[in-house]
């Protein structure tokens, strides 16, 4: 490792895109973010969002991102292509795809927008929870490599742990990048997929799973994310339904001063 590489955060290495032509980049999966099979989906989604953020025609900041995991991403190189599908006065709709061997393995649609001050109200309730500094670290021994890039401190709903009595599919945890990295849209997009599959919270049984589609709504702008800096953020995730091979997940992500940064939803395949 050169000094230069050493100074780059593992997340930024993982989502690094080398421009090939206008709207086309080359990237590669990162062993640091390996999952059980292939890369952690959070970095796949963050890479697709990064292509939008790198695009010369970008208008505004991320508002909505839907990532579809179409096929297993193989370890190694991939190509990312992004293009604006429609540009309005203050919003823009995007198409992004990740290709391997000429086939689409993941794709996303995104909306970016110029945000402006309006009436504001947060309706979701900020949970009352212990401070991150009063909680123990989640133990990563035996867990997939990607988990080592996150500092996770569970309040309840631990992986294969004792489910919360009233909300058996719910987890609440403080989390941040490890090593610490100032929060931005790229890292927040990845963090929104860093909740363990709800079925592993609900049932202490390891079965094959895979996120199929992930939607994130960003409620904060770049300035609000920058204000979080390297603080922990609070995640609250739960499932609404499991059945017929799929479950959903909804989650809120809060700053430690009580700003709702994002809400995120996904549908997940599970076996048995």
């Amino acid at each position: 490792m050169t000094n230069n590489e050493a100074s780059v955060h593992p997340l930024d290495q993982s989502v690094n895109l080398k421009p090939l032509e206008q709207g086309v980049w080359q990237g590669a999966t990162s062993s640091a973010y390996a999952n059980m099979v292939g890369p952690f989906g959070g970095t796949t989604g963050a890479t697709l969002l990064k292509a939008v953020l790198c695009h010369q025609q970008l208008l505004g900041e991320p508002l909505a991102l839907t990532v579809n995991f179409a096929a297993p991403v193989a370890d190694g190189n991939f190509e990312v292509r992004a293009r604006p599908l429609r540009t309005n006065r203050s919003s823009q709709h995007w198409w992004v795809e990740m290709m391997q061997e000429g086939e689409v393995v993941a794709f996303a649609t995104a909306v970016t927008a110029r945000r402006r001050e309006t009436w504001t109200s947060t309706e979701a309730n900020l949970p009352e929870v212990p401070l991150a500094s009063d909680l123990t670290f989640f133990e990563k021994a035996g867990r997939p490599p990607w988990t080592r890039n996150y500092d996770m401190r569970f309040i309840d709903g631990e992986l294969f742990g004792e489910p919360n009595k009233n909300e058996p599919s719910q987890s609440r945890l403080w989390m941040r990048d490890e090593p610490p990295r100032p929060l931005d849209f790229v890292s927040l997009a990845a963090l929104c997929d860093a909740f363990f599959p709800r079925i592993y919270i609900r049932r202490p049984k390891l079965v094959p799973i895979g996120t199929v589609s992930l939607t994130t709504y960003f409620h904060a702008d770049q300035q609000q994310l920058a204000a979080v800096g390297t603080d922990h953020i609070l995640g609250v995730a739960w499932a609404n339904h499991f059945g017929k091979g799929f479950s959903d997940q909804s989650a809120e992500v809060w700053s430690n001063d009580g700003t709702l940064l994002a809400t995120t939803h996904q549908v997940v395949y599970f076996k048995e």
Copy 2:
């Protein structure tokens, strides 16, 4: 109107697609589903889903649908194009677009899948509410034409009404197509966008709004939807956050026997 047209439900007229070539159809907006400006977004999304359901290469049933409203849909004809982006053994990822004058006005990604019996658990709580038959009809005088195609009976959170004290952005209502029409994926997709904008529930003030992106997860299969028939379904919708020109909405849709049929999320532009 011919006898033949008279026998077709207004929703089916609205989402009617005339095949032009493989994966390409012509449709037209329907005055019955007109909104304040352009057509009701629920029928736009339902039309995009219908193209997937009509496609010769369809595998399985709808699991996830994300509709992006890229630009105003003009009254009149449109073209719809659908193609599978990736077909796996038991799931399929779709791209669908609605074009007017050679420009994309709305697009969707969808996942269809073969569902199979697995462990099942509903984590969301079925609300205890009065029966539809014990509630009064929502009054449509002065409301946009599309509302006349729905029988809505509010428990609380009425349009420009008195907000629910504890959940001021929440609405709970029984709803169904009017005239009654057996529930299927097309009508359920439209119903998932039939909640009034949360800001009109939260604040008694008419401001310009528009759904930007709408994601629906279908938890029921065709057989379960058919079992609902023409019964009312229960919708529960709320916002998590309003601010900087946008708000989100999450909603649950339940059958009257307590089956969670779908969860649906959207991000909505609002002015002021």
